[in-house]
Symmetry: C2
Subunit: 347 residues, 2 copies
């Protein structure tokens, strides 16, 4: 990452208390407006309450509000107020939670944010309906904003949703496909993760009244950052720890997920690639030893290094796009800090 | 139904070939824009193709486009063209299909439009994702319309979606509740069925440029009609035939559904009500004989008559609201014809 200089502090996600202070009341109001059962399930999903509705003791959990932070800071970056962008911040966070709820149903993942996924606690029907409710609530938050910008904001969100669905569809299809190329993988990641982060940043610009060129720059910034995040997340899915990811160690390998390191390793050539292919092609379940072996083979075939390099390339592209927006200095500094943390999957 | 005169022909749903001619290309274009797998599943759900994508031989199936017909005729009723309202017609039909796909997952219903429900053919994950895709496609169709009216149209749809989710939530909760009142039932039916039919009619007005008062009248017309439809549907769910409803005979009773005839019968007093309560309270599955007995008891306790009367009352209210819109004569005639057929559950 020679051409970009890391900020002094990149090992932890920057503390953005003011983001939560702005976001939290509006987000809680949106959840409180849901039907009671779906509101409780959404609250559990966010880590605000236990399954029976009792408030949780810890104030942590519920993710780090990366997307809302992008929205609020993007508004400030183009000279607007963070307050003006709160509806956008709430909308992207609600959409994010909608995708998590439905994705866990679709993928059968039973761990989310260090707790049993909502569907495994409340059942699939309840998780589906709660996801629907969150998506509709997101649309509602935007349609309640000032009418003139509302139309553009809604269009921005709907475009992102279309890409999200397309990305999720590819993801599901690729799990069954015999071969997936790196190019296909990146297109999927752009749809599944890039589109919503791009939308988060763009909405900040839209709601602050920025012109189309700057909105496009912000969208590109968020979109590249999203892909960087997904690449880093894939590395974590193989070499990370449950304590950080909230997911089982090596789970991606045990499930034979075609994540970026694996796809790259399989596209390579050599003894490690051939052994990895045999392991992935075998119809048997992968035991603990197989997973450990697969992990070594992916690394040997260059999958880890390639994924880390891709994350860095995407981060560079994101930061270049951001610079072209000519953002206000303080917002620029904070957005760069977030970008570094996100691209290292600290968020 | 003394105060309203039935049109000459009410026993079959009016043939509205022109509605399908206007709707079909736009609806097919919307489905063609979906990711391939979700497009195929949506096509199967609509009866356009088999599970493997082969076009079906029959051109029937896929429902009778009641909601799109309401949208197009409502536009004409306020002096606009049917063409101007096509995006609204497509949007409500896509939302309707979204609700059917997710509702079948949520309720575990495995028969839809005389065929196995999509989730039972393609799996729950695929049905969930296809539903999501249809909802997003509906939003997209509206955001692609002329910007000035777009904002109002989107708001109309989002408001309906909120009510839909609320109605579905109540429906799920009531299935587990020990007692449900007739008032609770009607509020649920208004959310689950009335909101989208109300939206269908209102969108026709909005897209034709009608003023708020007439849009409100059209919304009320569609909303009452939706509740009438639900009441009639409940009667059919107990005394109807599979050939007409596409659902198993007596299925609502076997599943102990708290449909309007049952709710009314249980709210009554007398020997039939008491025997029905015992039957519904028993933890055992209801066999064929129990279902036949329950059917008789609901009728004896006045549940059937009350539901039929409620359908008529709602239809009267719908037609009164429509008259207040002072609709154009020909559109008025056709809307009345549809209303009669819908309220008798011919659609």
């Amino acid at each position: 990452m020679s051409q970009i200089t890391a900020p002094a502090q990149v090992d932890t996600f920057p503390r953005l208390g003011w983001v939560d202070e702005l976001l939290s009341p509006a987000l809680r109001a949106a959840l409180a407006a849901l039907p009671p059962d779906e509101g409780r399930i959404a609250g559990y999903h966010k880590g605000w309450c236990e399954a029976d509705g009792t408030p949780t003791l810890s104030t942590a959990g519920g993710g780090k509000s990366v997307r809302p932070a992008l929205t609020l800071l993007s508004a400030m970056a183009v000279g607007g107020s963070a307050e003006s962008a709160v509806p956008g911040a709430v909308a992207v966070e609600l959409v994010h939670d909608f995708t998590l709820l439905h994705d866990d149903v679709i993928d059968g993942d039973d761990l989310r944010r260090h707790r049993p996924a909502a569907w495994s606690v409340f059942g699939t029907p309840a998780a589906v309906l709660t996801g629907d409710a969150l998506l509709v609530a997101a649309m509602r938050v935007l349609t309640d904003t000032q009418q003139q910008r509302m139309a553009v904001a809604v269009k921005e969100l709907v475009d992102a949703l279309l890409e999200l669905v397309e990305g999720q569809s590819r993801d599901v299809a690729y799990e069954k496909a015999p071969e997936v190329s790196v190019a296909q993988y990146l297109a999927m990641a752009e749809g599944k993760t890039g589109s919503l982060m791009g939308c988060a940043a763009a909405l900040g610009g839209v709601l602050a009244g920025a012109d189309e060129v700057r909105v496009r720059g912000l969208r590109e910034f968020g979109r590249r950052l999203g892909v960087a995040f997904q690449c880093a997340d894939d590395v974590l899915g193989i070499w990370g720890h449950t304590s950080r990811s909230g997911k089982p160690v090596g789970g991606d390998l045990a499930a034979r997920k075609k994540s970026l390191p694996v796809v790259t390793a399989l596209e390579s050539d050599g003894p490690a690639t051939r052994r990895l292919r045999t392991l992935y092609d075998s119809p048997d379940a992968l035991g603990e030893q197989d997973v450990a072996l697969a992990r070594e083979l992916v690394e040997e075939a260059g999958g880890r290094e390639a994924a880390e390099r891709e994350a860095e390339r995407q981060l560079s592209a994101a930061l270049r796009a951001l610079s072209r927006v000519r953002p206000a200095a303080e917002a620029h500094r904070q957005l760069r800090e977030i970008a570094w943390a996100v691209a290292r999957r600290e968020a």
